[in-house]
Every structure is written in structure tokens, then in C-alpha cells.
């Protein structure tokens, strides 16, 4: 049994799986159920001046019969009074003292307001604060959420104000609705925050109903852009987490969020630089019970690899990501088809023919066809392997080019030296 304890800026949890601040952490009843199911921590639904929500609030992107590969919402922060939330936080903490409870906060950009909110909330026993600078809809129109997160100077300012009074670690939750995530992370670091968490939701619009031309979701025929999350955003989140992890000016740890549904997703976030992870959509889609496999799968993975602790994963592959100019131009792979596994759907053929490099040949022999890769012409783009419906039928194999590794940067320098 590996040690699953996670540590984010000194906040320790029995496992690295937290519920993100969202509907699953709306109330004490829910958080209690989550802790019973095994979640290591919960970031409470963002506290602030209670708002009024609209209906409807969510809509999903489905792909074929796969439901909710992406989720869009136009919900705001908590609609419950602060004292009710605080009372329930205290009850949860008392019932589950080993679990982490983080209070997510949102306020207008005034020092006094932030001071008051922080002081009021930390009257109950919490393990940290998370400043919601991410919410991209509604709250941003009122100068909060991503309206703050899109201005590094405001992030830094509010982080400072919070740190002035906070007695527990402060996490800054970043919005991905910017051009370069590192600026926000650097500002948080500069303002004295103890950690950053990312990503919050991405500006999005799910679609339009073809019958009524109503946007989806709609409120009485109208909508505003919402925030996008779920499995579809994972690649974006992974990249942003890694960019922060590798940036020398971001000197604080990272809580990874965005599209995490399984222990595998979590391992990827950890390897690329996150110290723990937060989950929202997966819990909305399947309920709290999914954490059981997350914990179990992570544990088995660590055991199988002979790793003692989750800590051994954190950032372990972060530096495998570099800039394009450093990639080896002399590394070559080609596609190879396992004829015994091939079921002759010809999807690889049409993909390579129409959209890659026309190097899969179809040999048609009395009615049956065989697909064969012309390895000389293959550029190793992976497209055929991606479209092949059969597991491990197309393998990308390395070809020895006989040339030493050379990156674009090295080649440019070499060519420059020649002239």
C-alpha cells in the first residue's frame, strides 16, 4: 500500500483527490457524503455575497453516445447565506477532522471587503482559502471572478490583501481565459499566495437548438456565454498546469483542475507538475462514488511501479515538455500494421490518403484488400494509428536514421556557423 498523502503548500490530505468548488460542494450534506465516499478534501462552493441564480444553468457537449464530454454552466457562486455555509463547514470538519476543507472566496476588489470576509470565514476551522479569480460569467460582469483573474496586477493585489489577514494557506484559482497563464500565476506568487489552482472554466457556448434557434442552455430564449469544463478541457488544463510548473517565476505549488475523471487523468496532472487534483464534472456526472476507483487505481499504479508515495509522481515528467526548437529532428517513427489484427475497415487508408501523406497502399486481391504502409514515404504523423478502431493494430515503430540527435535550434546554429 503506497502512501497516498498529498501536500499542497503544507495542506495535507489523506489522498490527492479534492472536490473542486462547484455544485458538489454546495452544502454540508453533500460534503459529508463525499467524505464518506473517500474524497481527501473539498473546496467549498464559492462564498461571498449570496446571489440569485437563473434556470436553466447547465448544458453538455455529447459525442455520439458518450454523454457530457464537455459541460457548460452559467451558475454563479453560492446562493446560500454565509452563516449557514460556515455552520455546515464547521460540522463537516468536526465529523471528518482528517479531511481538507478549503473555503473558496469571491469579493469585490476592495481591501476592507476582503479583510472582513477572510476574518469572518476563518472563525471556523478551515485548512485554507481559495480565491476564485476564475468564474468567467456573471460575476465577471460585476468586476469579480475572471475580471480579476485577467489582470495580473489585481491578482497580486488581492492575494496580498488576503495574506495580510489569513491564518491558513491561500490558493489563487486562475482563469484560463487569458493568452498566457503564466502571468496570472506569477502575479499570485508575487502577491504572496501559497499555491495556485487551475484551471477554472473556459468561456464557451454549447450550441443552438436547431428547431427553436434558442441557445443551449437558454433562459427564456436567451443565454450568455458560460464556463466550459469536463473531459474535453483536460488537454488545455494539462498544458497550463505544466507551463506554470516549469516557469521559474512561479515559485508556488499547483493544484491541478480540469477534466479529471479517473486515476489515470490524475497521474498525468501529477507527473506534469500538480501536487494534487480537484474534480467537478466527473462527480456531477457519476456521483461521489467514483473516488473509490481513483484511490484504488492510483494505489495499484504506485505499487506496480514500486513507488512509495504520491509525492514521487509530482512533477516527475514536467521537464519532458520543452519548446519545439529543442525536439530531435532526426528521430523517425513509421506506422506498421499488424495484418493479423486488421479488420479491413480501411479507415487508415482514407485518412492517410485524404489528410496525411498518401503512403498507405491498398492491395486488392480477389475481393479482399490489404493495407500496407510505404515506410519510405510515411512521416510518422500517427493519424492512421489514431483512427484505427483496433487496439494495438497499428504500431508506430522507431526507425534508425543513423543520424545523431539534432534539434532545430542546433541545426540553425550549425548552418549559421557554415555560412
Amino acid at each position: 500500500m503506497a502512501n497516498l498523502q498529498s501536500n499542497l503548500a503544507g495542506i495535507k490530505s489523506p489522498n490527492p483527490f479534492w472536490l473542486a468548488s462547484a455544485p458538489p460542494t454546495n452544502s454540508g450534506y453533500q460534503v459529508m457524503r463525499a467524505f464518506e465516499a473517500g474524497w481527501g478534501g473539498a473546496v467549498w462552493k464559492t462564498l461571498g455575497t449570496p446571489i440569485t441564480n437563473v434556470t436553466s444553468r447547465f448544458a453538455a457537449l455529447d459525442y455520439k453516445q458518450n454523454k457530457i464530454i464537455g459541460l457548460n454552466n452559467i451558475e454563479l457562486i453560492t446562493d446560500r447565506p454565509l452563516d449557514v455555509n460556515l455552520k455546515e463547514i464547521a460540522e463537516c470538519k468536526k465529523a471528518f477532522p482528517d479531511r481538507t476543507i478549503i473555503a473558496s472566496l469571491m469579493e469585490v476588489c476592495e481591501q476592507k471587503a476582503w479583510h472582513e470576509l477572510v476574518k469572518r470565514v476563518q472563525e471556523v476551522d478551515i485548512d485554507g482559502f481559495e480565491l476564485n479569480f476564475g468564474c468567467p460569467h456573471g460575476m465577471s460582469e460585476r468586476g469579480m471572478g475572471s475580471a480579476v483573474g485577467q489582470h495580473p496586477d489585481l491578482i497580486e493585489q488581492v492575494a496580498e490583501w488576503t495574506k495580510e489577514v489569513a491564518r491558513v494557506p491561500v490558493i489563487v484559482k486562475l482563469t484560463p481565459n487569458i493568452t498566457d497563464i503564466r502571468f496570472g500565476a506569477r502575479a499570485a506568487s508575487e502577491g504572496g499566495a501559497d499555491a495556485v489552482s487551475l484551471i477554472n472554466t473556459i468561456n464557451s457556448l454549447i450550441g443552438v437548438d436547431l428547431e427553436t434557434w434558442n441557445p443551449v442552455p437558454h433562459v427564456d430564449g436567451k443565454s450568455s456565454h458560460g464556463g466550459y469544463c469536463g473531459p474535453a478541457v483536460k488537454p488545455i488544463a494539462l498544458n497550463m498546469v505544466n507551463e506554470c510548473a516549469r516557469d521559474p517565476e512561479v515559485r508556488i505549488p499547483i493544484s491541478g483542475i480540469g477534466g479529471i475523471e479517473t486515476w489515470k487523468d490524475a497521474v498525468e496532472f501529477l507527473l506534469l507538475g500538480a501536487s494534487n487534483v480537484q474534480v467537478c464534472t466527473a462527480a456531477m456526472h457519476h456521483g461521489f462514488r467514483i473516488v473509490e476507483d481513483m484511490i484504488d487505481g492510483l494505489n495499484n499504479y504506485l505499487d506496480e511501479r514500486g513507488l512509495a508515495s504520491v509525492q514521487d509522481l509530482v512533477g516527475a515528467a514536467a521537464n519532458r515538455i520543452t519548446t519545439w526548437e529543442n525536439l530531435n529532428l532526426n528521430y523517425k517513427i513509421v506506422a506498421r500494421i499488424d495484418q493479423d489484427k486488421c479488420i479491413h475497415c480501411n479507415k487508415c487508408y482514407v485518412a492517410c490518403e485524404d489528410a496525411a501523406h498518401q503512403c498507405i497502399d491498398r492491395l486488392i486481391n480477389n475481393g479482399s484488400s490489404t493495407v500496407v504502409v510505404d515506410e519510405q514515404e510515411c512521416v510518422g504523423c500517427n493519424l492512421c494509428q489514431m483512427v484505427c478502431p483496433v487496439e494495438e493494430c497499428i504500431e508506430m515503430v522507431q526507425i534508425d536514421t543513423g543520424l545523431p540527435p539534432e534539434s532545430w535550434k542546433q541545426r540553425s546554429l550549425r548552418l549559421e556557423a557554415l555560412t
Binding site: 455520439k64 453516445q65 479491413h344 475497415c345 479507415k347
Partner: protein, 444 residues
């Protein structure tokens, strides 16, 4: 009665099954399922269209290739054709339910009364079609789309041929058969039912009055068994029996034991039809198949054999009827002789075992030993034929200039299967061949 006989053995897919199945299809390129379909329906494309909600477009893709797409969805031996070729078989998974998806798309347009095709601009050319079965209708549909004027001469009261009259109702309903014929009629046809060409009208007349003539008259009834007592009451030709049951015409009591002679597709239909009819009447009969060869030599498909067994049909192999025994002019027993397979040269033949006769009680005897050829008709029409199989060239032209043929009337045993989908393809090809001929013809 209608419940048992009319209830389709294939339930339509539910909406969720359609979604799952349509999305499961891999959308193969140059898909093997398409190549296995005699009419080359672009299966990958019609399923893709279902998955995007373009069901009308899907139905059009199907019917474009096969004017009998709705009946084919129900009666094609898909295990042997498209579904048998689906790549999922190779992957060790169950094939896509192509027939059921096809049915879904066509039910969709039928329920909404959507017309898929329009006639082409008038060419002034006229074509006569003899026979309004699947072959004749397929030819007519495409010729109308090319803009030629069509007259169909059909001996029976209604169009559809064996689709309407011959295939058992629990596999293909009269309603579906007639709906499909109606889709062709809607393109503007001159339909003359109750007219038997060669008897009521001469071919000479048609050749004179029309720019081209198509022979699509199918095959005949079940040939005589050629044994004593065959004319007793209670002895049926399988096609007459099925037709009466299907059209809900009066059929006398079947009694306790029904014997069916033969083990081809028609026999399976007759067996299961008799069984269901007896159950529907609240008096389940023992229905027994007598076949002169063994289970392995049966011409019915394995799935048909399995289906018959599931329906409670009994099988007796290696026996042939020698005499029908009657009482009060009605069959009450049949004498059989045991048979065995003998090798004669390079052929296996059936030979009776001397002295092995035995008698079985029988209340209804149905002969289903195949379909006879319309030799008399072809003789009257003056069309060259080989033992009742109309001779055609690669362009489906007969020995008489200006006369084409398609469908079961050109069906050569051993060359291919007599199937709706095959004759639909022939109708399509005949229409193309005739269109090319008519376009090349200098206007008079």
C-alpha cells in the same frame, strides 16, 4: 389470427438501440458491407446519416441504390450478405444490425409520408413492363426517374409480386410490400392489373406499341409432385397456401398433422406459416417437414432452419412421398419411402430404398418443392429460354430485339440466389441498359 401471422418476427429497433447501433458503426471506407450487398447500398453512409439525424437522407441513400430497400430490410439474408461482411465479425464482435437500421430509416419516411424521388423530365419514350413484382417495380422506378413513360401489366390484382403474395406476413407484411410499390406508382405509372400478357394481350402488340418491353414475370407455382392422390382435398401448393393465409382469405381447418414436402426457403415459410395459422386458430397442429435429403443438404439457410426449429417444426430427413391416401376425397395419410444419397459419376443423387415404405397420418399436405418455370408463357411470347429460364445477354436483352428481362424469370439455379435484393439489382441494371438504348435511338 392476425396476431400470430401478422406479428413481425423482427421488432423494430428502439430509439436508443438506433443511436447505439448507428454510432457503433465505424463508417468504414469502401466498406465490405457495401460490397457484399448485391445492390451496393452505401451502408456506411446511410448509417452515418442516421447518426447525424439526417434520416430522410439516409432513406434516400438506401432507396437510390435499391428500390426494394424496405422489403430487403426485412427479408434479406443479411447474415449471408452485408452483416456477414461487417468488419466487426473479424474483430470478434457482433456485426452492426444493418437490416434493422435500414428498416428504421425507411419506416421513418413511410410514417411521415415523405416522397423520396421525382420522375425525370419527359422523354416521350414508352416502356411496357410485364410483371409488377420486385424486378418489374425496380425497373419501372429507375426508368421513370430517367423520364420514360411506363405501363406495368400485372396478372394479379395488386402489385408487389411475391413480396405481396408469397413471403410470409410475419417476415414481410402486405402493407410494407404495397407501400413500396406505391412509392413507384407515385412517380406516375400506368398500372394495368388483372392483365396476363401472352393470354390477354400479345407480346407483338406490346412490341408494336412501346419503345421497349421488359419481361419481369418471375416464376410459376409449385410443380406437381407427380404422385397418386395429389388432387385430393387438403393438398396444397405452398404458394397458394401462403397467399391465402397472407391475404386473410378463408383457409380450411388444417387438422392435427400438417406435412410439408421440401426444405428450401419456400418450405420454411410454408411450415412456419402453417404452424402460426394453427396456433392463431387455437388448435396447434404438429407441423412436420419431410425432405428427401439430409439436414446438411437443405437449401434453406441455417438461420431459417434454426428459426423453424424454434417455432416447433419437426423435421424428417431422407424420405420422399410416394402416394397420397384419402378418405372422403380428403387426404388422411401419406405413404413415404426412405431415401439415401448415392454417388453417380461425380454427382450425388437421391435413390429410394426398396421396400422401406411407411405411412404417416396427415390432415393437410403442403408441397413446397420449388417453383415451376413459366414455359408456356415464354413459348407464347416467342422468347428463347433454357428449360424455362429466359436467355439474356450481359445487357439483360432477350432473344427478341427491344425486349429485356430481369428477376426470377432469368434466375438460373446454381448461378445465384432467387432473392429480392438480386432482382432489385437486375431491375436497376435493366433500366440503365434500356435508357442507354432509348437515348441512342434516333427519334422517329
Amino acid at each position: 389470427m392476425s396476431e400470430q401471422l401478422g406479428a413481425s418476427i423482427h421488432k423494430p429497433l428502439s430509439e436508443i438501440e438506433v443511436t447505439i447501433e448507428a454510432n457503433r458503426c465505424l463508417y468504414c471506407y469502401d466498406a465490405p458491407c457495401m460490397n457484399a450487398c448485391p445492390t451496393h447500398i452505401d451502408v456506411a453512409s446511410f448509417i452515418q446519416k442516421i447518426s447525424t439525424g439526417n434520416v430522410k437522407g439516409s432513406a434516400r441513400t438506401i432507396m437510390e441504390a435499391n428500390a426494394m430497400g424496405a422489403s430487403c430490410a426485412r427479408v434479406c439474408p443479411t447474415e449471408e450478405l452485408c452483416e456477414g461482411a461487417c468488419v466487426y465479425n473479424e474483430a470478434g464482435d457482433s456485426p452492426i444490425r444493418i437490416g434493422d437500421l435500414q428498416r428504421y430509416a425507411l419506416d421513418y419516411v413511410a410514417e411521415r409520408d415523405i416522397q423520396l424521388f421525382e420522375p425525370g423530365p419527359d422523354t416521350g419514350k414508352r416502356v411496357a413492363i410485364i410483371g409488377g413484382g420486385p424486378a418489374g417495380l425496380s425497373t419501372a422506378r429507375d426508368l421513370r426517374r430517367f423520364g420514360h413513360a411506363i405501363t406495368i401489366f400485372e396478372a394479379k390484382d395488386q402489385l408487389g409480386g411475391l413480396n405481396t403474395y408469397g413471403i410470409v406476413p410475419f417476415r414481410l407484411s402486405v402493407e410494407t410490400a404495397l407501400w413500396e410499390a406505391e412509392q413507384v406508382v407515385k412517380l406516375g405509372l400506368d398500372v394495368r392489373t388483372g392483365v396476363r400478357v401472352g393470354f390477354d394481350v400479345t407480346l407483338e402488340q406490346l412490341v408494336k406499341d412501346y419503345d421497349a418491353v421488359v419481361l419481369a414475370c418471375g416464376m410459376g407455382n409449385v410443380p406437381k409432385l407427380g404422385i397418386e392422390g395429389e388432387n385430393l382435398e387438403g393438398v396444397w401448393d405452398a404458394l397458394d397456401f401462403i397467399e391465402r393465409a397472407k391475404l386473410r382469405l378463408p383457409v380450411p381447418d388444417l387438422g392435427e398433422r400438417v406435412a410439408v414436402i421440401g426444405a428450401g426457403n419456400t418450405a420454411i415459410d410454408a411450415l412456419t406459416c402453417a404452424k402460426r395459422l394453427s396456433i392463431a386458430r387455437g388448435k396447434e397442429a404438429r407441423v412436420i417437414c419431410y425432405y428427401r435429403r439430409g439436414a446438411e443438404q437443405m437449401t434453406a439457410y441455417q438461420f431459417e432452419y434454426d428459426f423453424a426449429k424454434e417455432e416447433g417444426i419437426e423435421f424428417r430427413f431422407f424420405c420422399a412421398p410416394t402416394r397420397v391416401i384419402g378418405q372422403n376425397l380428403h387426404v388422411n395419410a401419406v405413404e413415404f419411402v426412405r431415401t439415401q444419397l448415392e454417388t453417380q459419376g461425380d454427382r450425388e443423387v437421391v435413390a429410394p430404398v426398396a421396400g422401406s415404405e411407411f405411412t404417416e397420418p396427415v390432415d393437410t399436405l403442403i408441397s413446397a418443392i420449388g417453383q415451376s418455370r413459366l414455359i408456356e408463357t415464354f413459348e407464347r411470347l416467342g422468347i428463347a429460354h433454357d428449360f424455362g429460364v429466359v436467355k439474356v445477354d450481359d445487357a439483360l436483352q432477350t432473344s427478341r430485339p427491344g425486349v429485356w428481362a430481369a428477376g426470377d424469370c432469368i434466375f438460373e439455379k446454381g448461378m445465384r440466389e432467387a432473392m429480392v435484393v438480386e432482382v432489385a439489382q437486375q431491375g436497376k441494371l435493366a433500366a440503365q441498359s434500356i435508357d442507354a438504348y432509348l437515348n441512342a435511338k434516333v427519334p422517329a
